[in-house]
Symmetry: C2
């Protein structure tokens, strides 16, 4: 399959069209300054032969592959169907932005030293690299931090720790929106469930925005750190139990991410509380699976179309200093839990 016996080259097209090979190249690239009649003849010949420009030859010459490499960092040992659907949605929006520019998208899921790899740009395979995925895989982010230290450049979603070029949700505003919504619902005993400080900047920002907005109205919030555990859903159930045992008066919970929030929702229901009547819940990410919960999960939804477009634009930006860091707007999606 890789070695079609008769893949035609531009020389074959040239012969058939009765022109030189250089003219074929110019005509097919839409180069101005080619006689319209000649161009038509070349196009016809190419079509008849089923000719397609060889991308390797072309990229080699042009020193550009019109390809973006997308690395998704996974949890070690996690199987592919367990990957947080948020990252698949982000992958999809990056694919859309890539294809809108006529670029290709090379994807790679990485989880451990066995498959860490960052040489997509160095090998010419891609013009730029984007890194997304879980903040919890320290080995992976250390690897990419090191790659960056040795001169490799890329853009990432979230950016745990190191000073990468990043794009993030407007997390503080999201947290504030959650707080304001809870207060408008007359909730007075607000809580936050999310992983402890430092795991992910994004989680920290969400919590800080929430706590600050509550404080601005004279309210405080209790915080529960989910137990270390491989599965966010199970973590959510456990955290909800802990929270409601220690603070039975809780009537509103903002959760750092939807996968965790779905577990929290389950845990709250298992504790015999009605949602949202007794306890309101708001998650973060806008994942589709939230609509399947009962009741459907109210959440803060980042604009993923904007995120995909911005990540690709930042990655392709030639001036490294122009990349910097940037925010994607977030919107409160009222479904059923708040």
């Amino acid at each position: 399959m890789s070695n079609r016996p008769l893949r035609p080259t531009s020389f074959d097209v040239a012969e058939k069209a009765g022109v030189s090979q250089s003219t074929v190249s110019r005509a097919l690239r839409g180069n101005s300054g080619v006689n319209a009649e000649t161009r038509a003849r070349v196009s016809a010949a190419a079509r008849e032969l089923g000719y397609v420009v060889d991308r390797h030859a072309s990229s080699l010459r042009l020193k550009s592959s019109e390809t973006i490499a997308l690395v998704t960092i996974c949890r070690p040992g996690e199987d592919r169907s367990a990957i947080n659907p948020f990252y698949f949605a982000l992958l999809g929006s990056i694919a859309a932005a890539t294809s809108a520019r006529g670029f290709n998208l090379l994807v790679s899921f990485q989880e451990s030293a066995a498959n860490f790899r960052a040489d997509f740009v160095a090998s010419g395979l891609a013009d730029a690299m984007i890194v997304i995925g879980t903040a919890t895989n320290h080995a992976a982010w250390d690897y990419f931090a090191q790659a960056q230290a040795s001169g490799l450049d890329f853009v990432c979603w979230g950016s745990p720790g190191a000073p990468f070029h990043w794009l993030r949700s407007d997390n503080r505003s999201g947290g504030a929106l959650a707080a304001q919504h809870f207060l408008s619902l007359r909730r007075r005993h607000c809580a936050f469930i999310g992983p402890s400080v430092g795991i992910s900047r994004q989680f920290d920002e969400r919590r800080d925005g929430y706590v600050a907005a509550l404080a601005a109205q004279g309210f405080t919030s209790v915080t529960v750190d989910p137990p270390a555990n491989t599965d966010r859903y199970a973590q959510g159930i456990a955290a909800a139990r802990t929270l409601l045992s220690q603070h039975p008066e809780t009537d509103a919970i903002f959760v750092s991410s939807d996968m965790l929030a779905l577990g929290v929702l389950q845990g709250v229901k298992e504790m015999g509380r009605r949602v949202p009547a007794d306890v309101a819940i708001i998650g973060f990410d806008g994942i589709r699976a939230g609509t399947l919960a009962e009741p459907p999960l109210t959440t803060l939804e980042p604009d993923l179309d904007a995120a995909g477009e911005a990540l690709v634009a930042m990655a392709l930006e030639d001036q490294a200093h122009m990349r910097g860091r940037s925010r994607v707007p977030v919107q409160l999606l009222l479904r059923g839990t708040a």
Copy 2:
């Protein structure tokens, strides 16, 4: 970013190591018959210079890109986060199989004539192509059928209609497992909810296996075709209502896919039936979101690791006639709805 000023070439490495460029190439490719000491010197020089083989030059010479192209067909107008998570899981397992072979994976989401594209192999970008995604997008499958007719070869999941090389779940066995499980649960009024004949071979096979296994024990099944509707979840709710109105005695429902089954579950509950006490439900696909339903969705789960591996193996198989068609085993995953 695409144009690093100083990307070193094999000539630079050669100079630094004090050997010829050909020796660099041989040493780095692990070519046998290179002096061990020379090889070490070359490797060291390459490392110091941060040299990485240019994949375009290499692929051009070797006429092979060690890349698989994966096309995912989407519903027109559907946004990326709404793509059936089953296809993302399949994408993940294909990525794993690809990377296990040291291959790259190029992905493309296609939904309408505006972005139909099948020239990945013709342009040399990929050695083989895999097509997955919704069977409901006829325009897309027609496009690929036409591409095949003009000599392009590829492997696909499911294969609606045309005689593609395909991989499918062992759908008949899956349907039979559902039937047997319902009967072991003493259900006597079994139903099937799924799209009508011909939309997808896989759905037909599931229904046929189910009906045949019921018939073998002397039982029949009623079938409900979900209303034409863009959203599987909404279709499921509507179909459940129709079914329970027309056949209130129904105590078991096998549904052609999980996304539809999640809607059916919701619809059944909305009709005031308890699940699984009054009505048992079994879906098909094993998607993760099924575990978030209440109760968690019992389902038939195809072995996705095997599917990813087999799709890649079939795609890469040089002898087209060796590809043919093949089945992935399916397993009953008892969760909560049956």
